[in-house]
Symmetry: none
Subunit: 132 residues, 4 copies
């Protein structure tokens, strides 16, 4: 479900943080769901357990996740729920502009960039229905 690319120069912990937040934001993980254990996730992602524990710790401090001592780690909130609609819109615009700018650097037009997103949407839906 979550995946890490060790050849990506982005630090592993940052990739995992983004992956978990994204899974929550998209509804693949829901409030109250239990995350895999630190050690299990470490095995699955072929990453050191400390790296996973570090991410869990940061998500806890951020209020995204709640850890119950000796029990496990649970989704606590959709991170976005703390944001005002205005703030959300502003941040989304920043993300969109970064995406378009990076795509332009690749020589990809806005229309192509949007078309590509539709492809990704289709790909995700297939994965999701595979999983069910």
């Amino acid at each position: 479900m979550l995946s890490i690319d060790p050849s990506d120069p982005t630090p592993l912990y940052a990739q995992l943080d983004r992956a978990i937040r994204s899974a929550i934001g998209s509804g693949r993980l829901r409030v109250g769901d239990r995350l895999p254990t630190v050690r299990q996730m470490a095995v699955d992602l072929r990453v050191n357990a400390n790296t996973v524990a570090r991410v869990f710790g940061e998500l806890e401090r951020a209020g995204v996740v709640e850890t119950r001592r000796g029990v496990g780690t649970f989704i606590r909130a959709r991170p976005a729920d703390a944001l005002s609609a205005d703030d959300r819109h502003r941040r989304l615009t920043a993300l969109a502009d970064r995406y378009l700018a990076d795509a332009a650097d690749l020589g990809v037009s806005v229309d192509e960039a949007i078309a590509h997103l539709r492809e990704r949407r289709a790909a995700e839906r297939e994965e999701t229905s595979d999983g069910q």
Copy 2:
């Protein structure tokens, strides 16, 4: 022209390498074009000159640019050599997935994220026609 985001956990050198290759791949930089000097680029990007120099060195070893002593650094490779269609597609997918993941963290669905891009496209077109 090129931009670096110091708050992105991706290492500066990886960001710069990618930015230069993208500019070549997209045709914004063409074979024979001269790059800014190491020091100039370091100042522009607010990055240490050693970091820029290392990226130039790696690009030279990769055959993407050519350094003529006392003259400057020039684009050597054709866009096709610098970035295959396959590479381009792979990178675009990485960008799209990052955009979708970050949008999901904001609680924004894929469909909304795409719709938002359309808005941005419309906004850009207006700005462009305003400017003419």
Copy 3:
């Protein structure tokens, strides 16, 4: 009567151990007094019964309490044994330093921190006389 702060990074067992010893040292618990049962205390403090049991066990080994099978756990040591004047002074210093450090983090000087305590003292006295 005893209190535990789950958000304090100090381990629960250390908090509980300290709380019980303090209560004895201060005379709030006296020799011969019966402690609540492990389970009752676990419920009251919202802590796992094993954690309470372990603290009781350590206190027993230290000679501070005595467990009479099927009857309950009783305070055994005299206050003087449980907490020497020296210990008391050392602990008070630790508490004071923590208070001053946390106050400093809020940008509050030592003098202001002391002044604030005087206010609290006044407030408490009012409450107390109100209650009478």
Copy 4:
């Protein structure tokens, strides 16, 4: 200047975090000051460098400190400056009440607790003038 007590059950990283914030809040460290290097502080406090690095990282995320890549770590802001006067007062009251409650557990009256703080103030002033 900063000190850690390895026998205190409070985690080392929490002790260090409090110590640094306190030093900033009390003015012993000022905006723009450079902190000792991670490795130096690790040696001084007889703690692993990773533990220090972890605290620096958390302080950076909290905006208390700024790290300049390859240069060092600098005080960025007095953490308290982000707080409203109201908020500060509320938190100070919580701290004071905790101190008084813990002191009461030790059998120490409010007046004694205040007197003890005055002692600590005197002790700190001596240390400070020794250092000059």
